[in-house]
């Protein structure tokens, strides 16, 4: 198999799932004739037609609401947010209707909301967001945020087959910057399982999405200095893979969490809490974090670079932590 980009992995997942199961439909803005703002659904309408590739008005609440209604009749809709920032427009529909249906009245909502997220491409404050933590706090949702083409494909396919509402974040910086060979055949990656990207014994760096790559780069640099970092890519944020996190911290005794999301209320806080609950005795140093600033995502490249974590910042934090 030739290596493919992440956007191609997502596109393949859509094609394969829609081919496999006529209950899978796509709904969103400009996803048909145009193929989606990032071409994630290119060619979908030609193959599956207008009944299965539903182009909507600019109405995020209606997109998510309709997808939810369709799922009640046994369909498995995949709703696209043109940019994931716009999920804020349908916050109520997602958090109060979709997320609560199964718990409250036993109605499963097998749907996926997917869309491009993340910064580093100078998209400005409304096209660069990482809104995952708004939804981490909503019981009933699953949240996936992959970092590789192979995971993106395998996790999206799993998400479509899941009986629960899944938010699927696609980091747009990674869409076309990395290529990878994807296993042939029906490639599925399980939801809720983190992966150890690099083994090490001196400290654990936990990250996800674009920052998983930054963490890997930092680990390579640290290795030259004699610091051997273990890197965990979460892949699924909700439900969080407690076992993998705790096992690694118990091994390395030091934890650094890196995320592109803003600092206050970011996932680093939740991970720190669960490590304190489950591996406090094993810690040899404070739990450290490298995150974006507590500001909106600024537009100018100089400002955005200051805003985002990068390899240098991660290396510096890891060096400090390694001293303990």
């Amino acid at each position: 198999m030739a290596p493919i980009t992440m956007i191609e992995g997502i596109r393949q997942a859509m094609f394969e799932e829609m081919d496999r199961d006529p209950a899978v439909v796509a709904i969103g803005e400009d996803i048909g004739v145009y193929g989606g703002a990032f071409k994630a659904t290119e060619g979908l309408i030609a193959r599956f037609g207008r009944e299965r590739v539903i182009e909507t008005p600019i109405s995020e609440t209606a997109i998510v609401g309709a997808a939810c209604g369709m799922s009640f009749l046994g369909l498995r809709p995949v709703a696209e947010m043109q940019f994931i920032d716009f999920i804020a427009c349908c916050f109520n529909q997602v958090t109060n209707f979709v997320a609560k249906s199964h718990y409250l009245w036993g109605a499963p909502v097998p749907m996926v909301i997917r869309g491009p997220s993340g910064g580093g491409v100078h998209g400005g404050p409304f096209h660069s967001a990482n809104p995952e933590m708004y939804f981490m706090h909503t019981p009933g949702l699953k949240i996936i945020y992959p970092s590789t083409p192979s995971d993106a494909k395998g996790l999206l396919k799993s998400a479509i087959r899941d009986n629960n509402p899944v938010l699927f974040f696609e980091h747009k910086f990674l869409y076309r910057r990395i290529k990878e060979e994807v296993p042939a055949g029906d490639h599925l990656v399980p939801i809720g399982k983190a992966i150890v990207r690099r083994e090490g014994g001196d400290l654990t760096i936990i990250s996800y999405a674009a920052m998983a790559h930054t963490a890997m780069e930092a680990a390579e640099q640290l290795a030259k200095e004699g610091i051997n970092a273990e890197v965990i890519d979460l892949r699924t944020l909700l439900p969080l893979d407690r076992e993998t996190i705790l096992a690694s911290v118990k091994k390395t005794n030091k934890l650094l969490v890196v995320h592109e999301d803003t600092r206050t209320g970011g996932i680093a806080g939740e991970i720190a809490a669960l490590v304190c609950e489950g591996a406090f005795e094993d810690l040899d140093g404070p739990i450290a974090r490298v995150t974006a600033l507590d500001t909106p995502v600024p537009y100018a490249p100089t400002l955005e670079e200051r805003f985002l974590p990068n390899t240098e910042k991660v290396v510096a934090a890891a060096r400090e932590l390694a001293k303990y």
Partner: protein
């Protein structure tokens, strides 16, 4: 078009309206005995809306009730015990005590979608239900209700927009009960009829006396039939009156007494009883038989609810995710081959009827100026901008150059201020301005 009802159907309409009312009256008593866990929302005076609309549906059709649509649930076959137990938060309730009131559903048998408290969200959801029904070839209609208050939400408009653009088999009952909590409808919506909003979506609409169950039924039947025939969504405004406060805690003192009296004289059940008697559809004996049956049934149902246990505390931890507890399978009523490649493959290009130019402008320009204001639905189209071609034919008259306006005197300054003098006397300004070389 009228859809004549048989005697049995008429009696059934009465049965459901009276069952609706007696059930709710019993719950008022339970509320006063502290047996209702949360709030209690009355649909007193609105029974004809819930019952008349839902009665026009078929078994396969889908509904999503609002808080005051218990009557619709009864018509759909929900037993009164479900309503009692929901309000009393019992383990035997459809949600096992996880939610109250009419917040429950039934996907498999009765096709009911549970509401949430945020208004309007059911409109896109039921649009999706209708879209899925069409996709699966089920020939269903999806119907939900919204109040006058809820018709101001964003979800209402987004949902109607999508339903219209999809031509979904979706019926929206706009239940105008005159009050959004304490705010009268005239203070929320600057149109005479809420049905006028349908014009903005290019969908059909009806206005009906919501206290006349036969009229409500007839309008809904017509809308439902047209929807099923593929003519796109429909909106029915039913004019009625909320005869109690928003909920039990609210004495509704903000409602003028005369307004209650006006509507009390139009009570939907009393009116229908009169209709049944005058048209000799029933007699006193039939009425008392039905009423006795309702009492008997409600006795049993209420007893069941009162004797039911509260849910065990550990239930709170269960059910956030579906982990294999449900089998999700669509009920296909058409061949899957039609929606599987190559059967569904198309040439993906837009076909456009015109290119969007303002073609009517020439005709409109010849008409006298339309009066402004009033009801949006009836206001003639007005030309908002003349295209270049038209402007060339009628050149604008030469205009006198405007006098330079006198700047507002900054606070605390008077006519002696230099800037004021300059503005009032252009000569002064000239004298004080610099020439091209920067000299005064």
């Amino acid at each position: 078009m009228s859809h004549p009802l048989t005697r049995e159907q008429n009696l059934e309409l009465y049965y459901f309206m009276q069952l609706n009312r007696q059930l709710e009256e019993r719950m008022v008593r339970l509320f006063r005995q502290n047996k209702i866990v949360g709030g209690l929302y009355s649909s007193l005076g609105q029974e004809a809306v819930s019952v008349g609309t839902c009665y026009a549906l078929e078994k396969r059709d889908w509904i999503a009730p609002m808080i005051r649509n218990i009557g619709a649930l009864l018509v759909k076959g929900v037993p009164p015990r479900d309503i009692f137990t929901q309000h009393m938060a019992k383990y035997t309730s459809p949600t096992q005590g996880k939610d109250g009131t009419s917040h429950f559903g039934d996907l498999k048998v009765r096709h009911i979608v549970s509401p949430i408290s945020m208004l309007g969200d059911l409109i896109p959801v039921m649009t999706g239900v209708a879209m899925a029904g069409r996709y699966l070839g089920q020939k269903i209609v999806a119907l939900t209700w919204i109040g006058d208050g809820g018709s101001s939400t964003g979800a209402f408009h987004e949902g109607l927009g999508l339903a219209a653009s999809q031509r979904a088999a979706f019926v929206l009952i706009v239940e105008n009960n005159q009050w959004a909590y304490s705010t009268p409808v005239s203070r929320q919506v600057p149109v005479k009829n809420l049905a006028d909003r349908a014009v903005a979506y290019g969908i059909r609409s009806w206005i009906v006396d919501g206290n006349d169950v036969t009229a409500v039924y007839n309008a809904t039947k017509e809308a439902v039939d047209e929807c099923r025939a593929g003519r796109g969504p429909a909106l029915i405004e039913v004019k009625t009156m909320r005869m109690r406060g928003h909920a039990q805690h609210d004495p509704a003192e903000y409602v003028p007494k005369e307004m209650f009296e006006y509507w009390k004289a139009r009570d939907p059940i009393a009116q229908f009883e009169k209709y049944l008697t005058e048209n000799k559809i029933w007699d006193a004996k039939t009425k008392s038989e039905i009423d006795a049956r309702i009492e008997r049934e409600l006795d049993v149902e209420q007893k069941f609810a009162e004797e039911s246990p509260m849910p065990p505390p550990e239930l709170a931890e269960e059910g956030v995710y579906c982990e294999g507890c449900h089998t999700i399978e669509a009920d296909w009523k058409r061949s899957k081959a039609e929606v599987t490649p190559p059967g569904c493959s198309i040439d993906p290009a837009w076909s456009l009827k015109d290119f969007g130019a303002f073609a009517e402008v020439a005709t409109l320009a010849k008409q006298p100026a339309a009066p402004g204001g009033g009801n949006g639905a009836k206001t003639p189209k007005r030309v908002l901008a003349a295209p270049a071609k038209l402007a060339a034919k009628q050149p604008l008259p030469a205009q006198e150059p405007e006098e330079p306006s006198v700047p507002r005197v900054p606070f605390g300054r008077g006519p002696k201020d230099k800037s004021v003098r300059q503005a009032q006397n252009p000569r002064d300004r000239h004298q004080n301005s610099r020439d091209k070389q920067g000299r005064r």
